[in-house]
Subunit: 231 residues, 2 copies
DNA sequence: GTTGAGTCGATAAGTTTTTATCGATATGGA
DNA sequence: TCCATATCGATAAAAACTTATCGACTCAAC
């Protein structure tokens, strides 16, 4: 099946690109505030410590077009990113688990910048139920299923203890949730069609620590074998 | 340069593999608790929703060896992962920024499982300084540089406002930090040799939300073009 | 004008990561 | 004892992602 013209938007943007777009967005916003009207891949790459060619490809994926020798028009490009990422569409979100991590998320004002609206949190702890935190209501988790269904909420944040992760997931899925942002260290079993984005913080820290160890071993070996390597 | 035998440990393990290892570790621990002595890639993959071949390759990277038809010896394999990831080496860590997110991390008991020891937090807020949170001291940020140096701390968590991110980074780098786990939405400029692991939470959420939108568009198109596709 | 340099877009090459294939080996039952 | 089967390890193929190359375009300076 050859791609027809209006398939363009359907060619999925690679995940690494999606993760970089917010950096471009923020950086270009900075340029706008500084009064600049155009920005080049070279400049962006410089500012963000990335490869200019990669920046160009990423921007291309959003539909932004640039002009040779000039660069990308700041406002137009910001619009392209917003449009591509849907920063303007309001997306309601529920948080399940208003513990330490959940409360940090509740207090975070940054969600709205990208169109997210953290509507409410849910918890089983009676001392938290029917209270507020950072202006957001914490509701009885027994109401979760009903409210997901009634409000057609599509995205949920999972910040419950690992032991409760799969059970809560099953509830969410039955209620019709479409995507789960998972902070628990559990691999969730979900039916096809439900998306899960794992945010396994400890795993990321382990990666960092392991890479640190490897880089030490490497530089040690280099110093033995006499390859100076220090630009 | 052809790899000599004892280069094995120096062939860097791919980052995606490193991120999956904690899942295997936890899953195999579960098997041990259930009294099983061997576990196969097939079983592991089933439990974690992964590809069996990928599981095998990942385990291979840790140095674990299995036996055909039998699988991997549970205890031996756990040891291999621990050894590979350095779960036994204690790694001291400083946290900079004891705000909402920082406090959630301070309260998190899971770090020790992988050998991390969150020693102390640092903040500029006078009302937080010289207090404790979850049994961990919150110290005056002006002491950060000195203590990094004196205690030879190599890893820091960055959980300060974005506006302070680069300045704090510079301080850490000057004091000799080797790795930064960065929760701010800023791309940090660091000299070669200093590692940064970005944990851009909003970017991850954006990815999820964009993929959700795409999957909706896709299934809509499929329903129009009459490709049922529902296994 | 003409020239020169900075930048884009398209295409190609390279690298990394995932998935597939296949022979070898161990186990349990015929 | 032999055979069927599950599984591993090694190697190869495929896919995804990053980096390089090159012609074309635009602007500014001469
Ligand atoms: N805190 C961190 O820094 C951190 C770091 C990495 C991972 N995590 C993971 O994030 C998750 C939450 O961590 P935390 O530190 O906030 O834990 P927490 O114990 O502070 O909070 C968990 C909350 O979930 C609630 N809860 C329990 N069962 C529930 C259910 N069935 N429905 C709704 N709510 C329920 C509890 O009442 C509690 O308020 C855990 O899985 C943890 O492993 C946390
Ligand atoms: N809270 C969240 O859920 C969340 C989500 C995504 C990203 N983040 C990012 O994490 C970072 C921290 O978020 P937060 O919600 O904890 O913010 P916060 O405002 O609650 O906490 C920031 C803390 O850093 C301290 N601080 C400021 N300057 C400092 C300095 N120079 N040295 C040491 N400490 C300093 C402040 O006193 C404050 O206690 C921010 O960059 C934010 O964008 C947070």
């Amino acid at each position: 099946m050859s791609p027809s013209p209006n398939d363009q938007a359907l060619v999925a943007i690679p995940e690494p690109t999606l993760k970089r777009l917010p950096y471009y967005y923020k950086s270009i916003q900075g340029q706008r505030e500084a009064g600049r009207e155009f920005v080049s891949c070279t400049t962006l790459a410089e500012a963000l410590g990335l490869n200019p060619i990669q920046v160009r490809k990423d921007l291309q994926a959003t539909g932004a077009v640039g002009r040779p020798k000039v660069g990308y028009h700041v406002s137009t490009t910001l619009d392209a990113i917003e449009e591509c990422m849907g920063y303007h569409n309001t997306k309601d979100i529920f948080l399940v688990g208003a513990g330490h991590l959940g409360q940090a998320l509740l207090a975070y004002p940054g969600f709205s910048e990208f169109g997210f609206n953290l509507v409410a949190a849910f918890d089983v702890d009676p001392t938290k139920m029917e209270t507020e935190f950072a202006g957001k209501p914490i509701l009885d988790a027994s109401r979760l299923s009903d409210l997901v269904r009634r409000m057609h909420v599509q995205i949920a944040i999972l910040a419950v203890p690992a032991t409760a992760a799969q059970a809560v997931t099953d509830t969410l899925v039955r209620a019709g949730i479409r995507a789960i942002w998972n902070f628990t260290p559990t691999r969730l079993a979900v039916p096809k069609g439900v998306l899960v984005q794992d945010e396994n913080l400890l795993a990321s820290l382990s990666v960092l620590s392991k890479q640190l160890e490897s880089s030490r071993a490497k530089s040690h070996k280099e110093s033995i074998h006499g390859e100076p390597e220090e630009l």
